[in-house]
Symmetry: C2
Subunit: 197 residues, 2 copies
């Protein structure tokens, strides 16, 4: 039976973790990038669809290419991150379901239904994005997720050979510089956005 994680772990994952725009100069290794995926991939998706496709922009050339499509306020954030991940989705994820979900006929449920695929890919790749952020934090790293960029331009630039891949959001990852944080934005109490019935 599982216990409640330690306060230190809960603080690191949730309570004290912050979105970072500035990093302290330390690199993120290829091994750390693989380790993030190895954790994040274990999170649940509908029928094990795993629609997320991730492009980890780590070289200066890759970051420059991505920064060119960022909103003005995000250009430097992309450029200065140790790595910036494009969290994308494959709207033809159903082609993989015979392997990923061997005990059901998931593919038939989505054949010829592009709108249902788009909805499911968007929901589930976003869930996987949440797992990725918390996996990175669990490994001692900080994240700076962003949706301020030109999705169509990123798709044209990075996914010309994979037209079923669509960018969802981007996320810089590294060791945050705590001296450059803003004050934390407010979080509402339970009663504001929840009902218990």
């Amino acid at each position: 039976m599982a216990d409640v994680l330690s306060d230190g772990s809960l603080n690191q994952l949730f309570r004290e973790a912050r979105t970072h725009q500035y990093f302290d100069g330390r690199e993120v290794s290829d091994e750390q990038i693989h380790a993030i995926w190895e954790l994040a991939k274990m999170g649940p998706t509908s029928m094990n669809q795993l629609p997320a496709r991730i492009v980890w922009c780590k070289s200066d050339a890759a970051k420059e290419r991505l920064a060119a499509h960022a909103a003005p306020g995000n250009v430097e954030k992309v450029r200065n991150a140790p790595v910036c991940a494009i969290v994308a989705m494959d709207v033809d994820f159903h082609e993989q379901l015979p392997q990923l979900f061997p005990h059901g006929n998931g593919k038939a449920m989505f054949d010829g239904k592009p709108e249902a695929r788009e909805t499911s890919a968007f929901r589930n790749s976003s869930l996987q994005g949440g797992y990725l952020i918390l996996a990175a934090r669990a490994l001692g790293l900080d994240c700076g997720p962003m949706s301020g960029f030109n999705n169509a331009a990123v798709d044209a630039d990075f996914f010309a050979d994979d037209p079923s891949w669509k960018s969802n959001f981007i996320c810089s990852i590294g060791y945050g510089d705590p001296t450059r944080l803003h004050e934390r934005s407010p979080r509402p109490d339970f009663g504001a956005f929840n009902r218990l019935i």
Copy 2:
């Protein structure tokens, strides 16, 4: 500087956690439900939008009401869960931004743009759903997320007085019965769905 969480914690959150359809009979307290929110709300959303709205169906009456809109294979899963959360989104989340994001004019970016609001609410409420699942696991609980239900019927039934609230997915929460798990579905290696450039 943050450390890597212990193997026990990483196992509990990611590696050994499983989606559960059957629970062992123990209740989930109101305090635990509040505790899940208190952790999950700390996760990042774009401009602190926090678009998720959560209805925790805990009473038998609430679970019956929700089960009536579930896909046939999910009816008993909803009915038998200690609590089943409707993870919804408020597509008019921008009305809250003057309070939630006081240092920017986020509301003006979304006024009169229902499609942009829908996209952002869907992405960010799904991210929050991912935080919720991992928050529950961090507190020693198990989850069974589901998207097999009639979203329009749930919205009509539960959100008649809040027409800007739209259901995203539902998630049963409790203490899973490990004796009734299926074999885990496969997870791909890094090279299958990732690129490092």
